[in-house]
Every structure is written in C-alpha cells, then in structure tokens.
C-alpha cells in the first residue's frame, strides 16, 4: 500500500538553517497493515504522514502509494482518494459551517452521488457517536467533539488507507476507546490500512507493527512485542514501554524473576501469578 524509499525532507528555518525533519526513512506498509508511529516531539512523524497523501514532496527519495509515485502530479487525485488524513489539530480541517456538510465535503469532492453520500455521512457520524450534532456548527464543538467530526469526514471518504496524526490527544477515556475500536474495526473488517501516530504507548499496542522515529530516522521497528521490550532504547528515545512493560522492567531490575516478553496487563498478571 505504502512504500517509502530513502525519504528525506528538509525544511529551511527562518534564519536559513536546514532542519532535517526526515533524514533517510525506509518503510513498507502492506495492504491491510496497521502501523503505529511513535517518536519524540520533532522527530518527524507529522512530516512523514504528510508525504503519504502528497501534501509534502520528498527532498530526496520516493514515496509510492499502491505503486504510484506521490511526486507525479497526475497521481494526485488517485492518491488523495486512497489515503485520507486526520490531522493533529482538527481545527485545521474544518471546512464547512455545519457538521453534516463538513463530513460530506470529502466524499462530495470525490464525486460520490446521493443517496450514497447521505448514507456515508450518517454512518460516519454514527461510527464516532456524533449523530446528535449533525446540524451544529463545528466551530462551536468542544475539542474532543471536533476531533470526532474530523475522523468522520475521513471515514466518509471510504479510502483504502487512513493516516491519523494523534487522533485521540483531546479525547476523554471513553472517546479514546471508541476511536481505537473504530480504527480496529475498519482495519479488521474492511481491511483498511491504518497509519496511527501517537504519544500514547498503550494505543500503539493495538497495531501490528510499530515504528519509532528519532531525528528523522527509524530507530526501532517491529511488532509491538519487539519494540516495547527494548526498554533501555525506548528510554533513550524519550519514549517508554506501556505500563505493564515498565513495571515488569522495574521488578526485574529489583531482582525479581519475570519470564517472557511482557507488554500487556494480562501478561504481567500471568507472569506474577501463573
């Protein structure tokens, strides 16, 4: 689905200095994969995400979406209809004065006709629990509510791949659970490819693969089990293992024998009281 080859992206800051936001990334995301991207603030996660639907172009290297080069102008439309993006700040993607129209904006642009359009909008709003707000002004919603509307907008486009940049940062625990469940369902039931950027290590556990970035490079990659058992390396990267993994590491350091790769609550319980 997504192929990233030797990707570099350099910005020039206000004083003319080069900021190497991405500094040689190789990445391969299969069709139907579920990838979490973690990394310290400024490590390049959002910059990487913006390459997936051609919002940014590589300084060097290539990004292919279903084999189509994002640098080729003629691919733009096909790429954007395949890869949807939920931004870090939902304010940046609100386009209409009414929630329902906001959600309809994407699919309408893709030429989805009525009554299909109406159905998609209704289903997307229901999926994020915002049906009651369909007629509201999006600017008047709370932070978390806006974020859900933004997700609904991408859902309604029904692309094959959804890139989410910290989608739960402003959500309450229930909202988080719901978004995670929605993402999981889209991945499992419809085979939609997911790229999920997060600072919450417990959320990254839901993915099939995890990439940890450091200063524009991939520092760790693998299954959640592989990545989150590297506790010392994670610490160095400014990251951490999920709670059960952290606790297991601390107990081990105190001389307590705990077998196996522990990253989930149940695994720690099993290890402590087999």
């Amino acid at each position: 689905m997504l192929e990233v080859q030797g990707l570099k992206h350099y910005f020039t800051d206000e004083q003319g200095r080069t900021v190497k936001a991405l500094d040689g990334i190789d990445m391969h995301v299969d069709d139907g994969d579920y990838v979490a991207v973690i990394g310290e603030s400024g490590s390049g996660k959002s910059t990487l995400a913006r390459h997936f639907n051609a919002l940014l172009q590589p300084t060097e290297g290539r990004v292919l979406v279903d084999g189509m080069d994002t640098a080729a102008e003629e691919n733009l439309w096909a790429i954007r209809s395949r890869v949807g993006m939920v931004f870090q700040n939902p304010d940046n993607q609100i386009v209409a004065a009414i929630v329902e129209e906001d959600v309809a904006f994407g699919p309408e642009n893709l030429g989805v006709p009525q009554p299909e359009l109406g159905r998609r909008v209704r289903e997307a709003l229901a999926a994020v629990g915002m049906t009651a707000y369909a007629q509201q002004g999006p600017y008047l919603l709370s932070g978390g509510q806006k974020q859900r509307v933004a997700i609904a907008g991408i859902l309604a486009m029904a692309g094959r791949c959804i890139v989410l940049d910290e989608p739960t940062a402003m959500l309450d625990p229930r909202g988080r659970r719901e978004v995670l469940a929605t993402v999981k369902k889209l991945n499992e039931e419809q085979g939609i490819t997911i790229v999920y950027i997060t600072h919450d290590m417990s959320e990254a556990l839901a993915a099939k693969h995890v990439y940890a970035l450091e200063k524009g490079k991939v520092a760790l990659a693998g299954t959640p089990e592989e990545v989150f058992s590297e506790t010392d390396e994670l610490e160095r990267l400014g990251l951490e293992a999920p709670p059960a993994g952290r606790l297991a590491a601390k107990l081990r350091k105190a001389g307590i024998k705990i077998n196996g790769n522990i990253i989930r609550d149940e695994e720690l319980a099993e290890a402590l009281w087999p």
């Binding site: 910005f11 800051d13 206000e14 004083q15 973690i38 990394g39 310290e40 603030s41 400024g42 959002s46 870090q88 700040n89 304010d91 509201q136 002004g137 008047l140 919603l141 709370s142 932070g143 978390g144 509510q145 910290e166 940062a169 402003m170 959500l171 309450d172 625990p173 229930r174 909202g175 988080r176 600072h199 290590m201 417990s202 400014g238 990251l239 951490e240 709670p243 059960a244 952290r246 606790l247 601390k250 107990l251 105190a254 307590i256 609550d265 149940e266 720690l268 319980a269 099993e270 402590l272 009281w273």
Partner: protein, 288 residues
C-alpha cells in the same frame, strides 16, 4: 486569597437556536497553593469553566472572583486579577501570535512592566523550563514548529509571567513521554517553590492521580465530585466509567492482578505505589 466561583451558570449563544448550556450551577474555591486536576468527558464544560476563572467569559448567572476582585467589574478594575492568572489554552496555536518564539514569550513579562533585562531572563528561564533549546528555537516562527514544540512554546509564554494561578488546559496533549515528565517536574517545582496554584485540565487519569492533591470531576456542566484523587479513583470506578472517564492505568492493572488473586489494595492509583506493593509482596511470597 483564592479563586471563587459561586453558582456559575453559562449558556453559549443564549436565545438562539444554537444555544448550548455549558455550566449549570458550579460552586468551588481554589486556594493559593492548591494543585487541582479537573477531569470530565469531552464537552462537559472544563474549558468553559476555566475561562470563567480567568474572567474571559462572563457567567450567565452567578459570581466569579479572584483574590476578592469580582470579575464582573469593569475591565480596568479587574486588570490586577487578570495578571494573577495564566492560562495555557487547549489549542496552543490559538495563543501564539508573534513573529518569533522569543517575542511570543517576551510579550507577557513586557506587558507586566518588566525591564528588558528581566524580560530576557524570564524568556530564557521559561524556554529552559519547557525544554526548548534557546539557540535552536528563539528565532523560529511559532507557526512552523511541530505540534509538541508549539505546545511547549505556549506553556513557556505563560510560565514567563509567573502567575499566582496557573491554569493548564490539556497541557500534555501532544507531548511525548519524556517531554511530559520534564514538564510535570517543572510544574511541581513551581508549585512547591513559588506556591503557584495549579489547575490542570486533563483527559489523562494517570497525571491526575500522580500530581494533583485534589480532583474535580465535572459532568454535563455540573460538579460531580470534589475530593482527593485517591478517594475518587478507589471508590467511584463504575461511576467514572458511566460519565466517560476511567481509573488510572495503574489502577486498571491492579484490578487485573486482583482478579488473578494478587492481593493489591484498593487504594493503589499510581505506578510507583503498585511497584512498591509488588516488590514487598513478591519478596514476602518468596519466603513462604
């Protein structure tokens, strides 16, 4: 010396078809030196509530005051009260406005009448406090930073004013684990050393459990609980879930262990506490 809210009601766009009741009779007092966490489902009224504390929104009904100054008085009369309160807003980009990070942070102290030297010191100190390297970031445009860098800049701008009451609306959203830890170390320090009152709005139950002395739970514009975090998280797990909230990760992990037969006490709410308990428990068990 305190922020007091008495029977605050607030409705957005009253008398229009878009009217939305956000607060319904909230009464509370935040003392100098408090460290309070405010939790509640999205749309429960948290951001609206803190804007009442800062005098940024006038209540539809009820009374808000800061250190005895009634916030419904004229702009000139409440200026002193405003100066005591620093708010880091939920979306930091709404708060950033200057051409460079330096100017953005310097605005507050200058506005409070600090000398250029004092202002410069305040800017440097605040940048160090949030972990933004001076040489790398001082001259950068606020609007071309990463999400977490922007948030830290917005926090620095408020810290530089050394407010008596620091209100933080989801300050750690968008921060990686290390920045988050460093940020809270700074906040705890300001709280302890300068007696700064901290009002922390958060969706992160772990932060509420770990740092706050007092927890306010708000649901649909009403104050549901006001008690120490330990009491609320230990007693009201089911009730919290019903209003869209949860217990901290450590308490959840403790529950999983308990279900297995590990005798974890009910009042464990932080990771450090759970670690301490498990260490003694495993050792004791080893002896048997």
């Amino acid at each position: 010396m305190a922020i007091t809210l008495e029977q605050i009601h607030y409705t957005y766009s009253p008398g229009t078809p878009f009217a939305r009741v956000a607060l319904q009779g909230v009464t509370l007092t935040i003392e100098k030196g408090d460290f309070v966490a405010l939790i509640g489902h999205t749309g429960s009224g948290k951001s609206t509530l803190i804007q009442q504390m800062g005098g940024l929104l006038q209540p539809s009904e009820g009374k808000a005051s800061v250190d005895g100054i009634d916030l419904s008085r004229k702009e000139k009369e409440i200026k002193a009260a405003r100066g005591k309160i620093g708010i880091v807003f939920q979306y930091p980009e709404h708060q950033l406005f200057a051409e460079t990070a330096y100017e953005d942070i310097a605005f507050g102290p200058r506005n409070l009448g600090r000398s250029p030297e004092e202002t410069d010191r305040a800017v440097r100190r605040a940048m160090a406090q949030v972990g933004l390297d001076f040489d790398t970031f001082a001259q950068r445009s606020p609007f071309r930073l990463s999400g977490g860098q922007m948030r830290r800049l917005a926090i620095a701008g408020v810290l530089a004013m050394e407010p008596a009451y620091l209100i933080l609306d989801e300050p750690s959203a968008g921060l990686d684990p290390r920045s988050r830890r460093l940020f809270f170390e700074q906040i705890v320090k300001s709280h302890k050393q300068q007696g700064m009152a901290i009002i922390l709005v958060t969706h992160n139950m772990d932060e509420a459990a770990r740092y706050a002395q007092r927890l306010l739970v708000i649901n649909e514009g009403k104050l549901l609980y006001d008690a120490p975090p330990r009491e609320i998280f230990a007693k009201y797990q089911k009730e919290l879930e019903e209003v869209g909230l949860a217990v901290p990760a450590a308490a959840r992990l403790a529950a999983v262990l308990r279900a297995r037969g590990v005798p974890v006490p009910a009042d464990i709410i932080t990771e450090a506490e759970l670690e301490k308990f498990l260490l003694t428990w495993v050792k004791k068990r080893g002896k048997k």
